[in-house]
Subunit: 214 residues, 2 copies
């Protein structure tokens, strides 16, 4: 059955690869699965037709025959269970990889989202300049814990997994801020993720849509 994901008609990041469809594109490339993309405008995300598929008006939504899914973690877990390559074969290793998927979303991403909210939703508020160091300190605390855990390992738990894919993409959102540079262990970890051919293909595919037109 054809897999279709939704993506921004024009990503707010102008092709940096930070929009969440890239996570799913990357997973599909790792698993060697072809997919179609349906581009959606910001206006269309608010319309009932889209909300019927994705109640929160976010991208990506995923369709495969009659099945409709959303949330990148859920989509990637669904794909990783059907096709080999993103989860270990042994049950314990599989559960640990899924732990890292949830840790990326539940523990590492929230303070990173906070930074984005401060800059974009509250960028003109008088308090934002004073708040930024507090938010950055919370991010650094989590990054330090993650770096302490990772140490000199290549990936979070053995081979590259869906947990690494999610974590690398969550960390990539920090690149424009420069915060990642203070954690060389994590900067190198992100670079390892970005060096994977499947990531390169996913990045190129979104860039073909989002690159600034000359």
């Amino acid at each position: 059955m054809t897999i279709t994901i939704t993506a921004f008609e024009r990503s707010p990041d102008g092709g940096m690869g930070l929009s969440r469809d890239v996570r799913v594109r990357w997973a599909l490339e790792e698993l060697g699965q072809p997919y179609d993309v349906r581009l959606v405008s910001f206006a269309a995300l608010k319309e009932p037709a889209y909300r019927a598929m994705q109640p929160f008006g976010q991208i990506p939504a995923y369709t495969e025959g009659d099945l409709v899914l959303f949330e990148t973690g859920s989509i990637i877990l669904h794909l990783a269970e059907q096709h080999e390559g993103l989860l270990p074969r042994d049950a314990d290793g599989r559960s640990r990889a899924i732990t890292w998927m949830f840790a990326a979303i539940g523990t590492i991403e929230p303070p990173i989202l906070d930074l984005a909210t401060a800059k974009f939703a509250e960028g003109r508020e008088p308090w934002t300049e004073q708040r930024l160091p507090l938010i950055e300190a919370r991010i650094h605390a989590r990054l330090q814990e993650l770096a302490d855990y990772l140490g000199d390992a290549d990936w979070l738990d053995g081979d590259f997994s869906a947990g690494d894919l999610m974590m690398v993409h969550v960390l990539q959102r920090l690149k424009p801020s420069g915060l990642l540079d203070k954690h060389p262990i994590l900067a190198a970890y992100v670079a390892r993720g970005e060096a994977r051919p499947a990531y390169q293909r996913a990045f190129a595919a979104q860039l073909a849509i989002n690159a600034p037109r000359g």
Copy 2:
């Protein structure tokens, strides 16, 4: 094999049931699985012995023989795959229930965490009083979308699932703020969750540890 979870020696909420171990206790009760609890002090959460098990010093951590897991979503998914009762039997329904687990953590919880951060970490900052309405507006927007989706259904997708369990517990965190009262559909949804005998047992078990001593 014996299941052991960690919990706060003394929960910051004084027994309201909002600490994350309650999610896992609830899942274990729904599935009829016995478990042990290891109580941990705030100081112990920072120690290397605990960090070796849970790199971010959070509760709950989960052990079952040699397997160590963390993140409530991951623990509950692991349990729901081994024991019947929290995921539909059909593959598509199962993937949709997992979508709601991720939506609880990835979409609904972040603005709710923001409110907690504003009140506790930034409670004395001069800007917090002005920021609270902005944070509350972001929470209400998500709650409205969730309520629009839920409508007059009892649960998010057919029978009660691990997705509902996660979502109800995430929403419960809003109870002290009164924000949930403005969304009667969701207040009733949370009440349905709390009325489940398994929830009642989980709540009583944490209360026995955390109730204020007279």
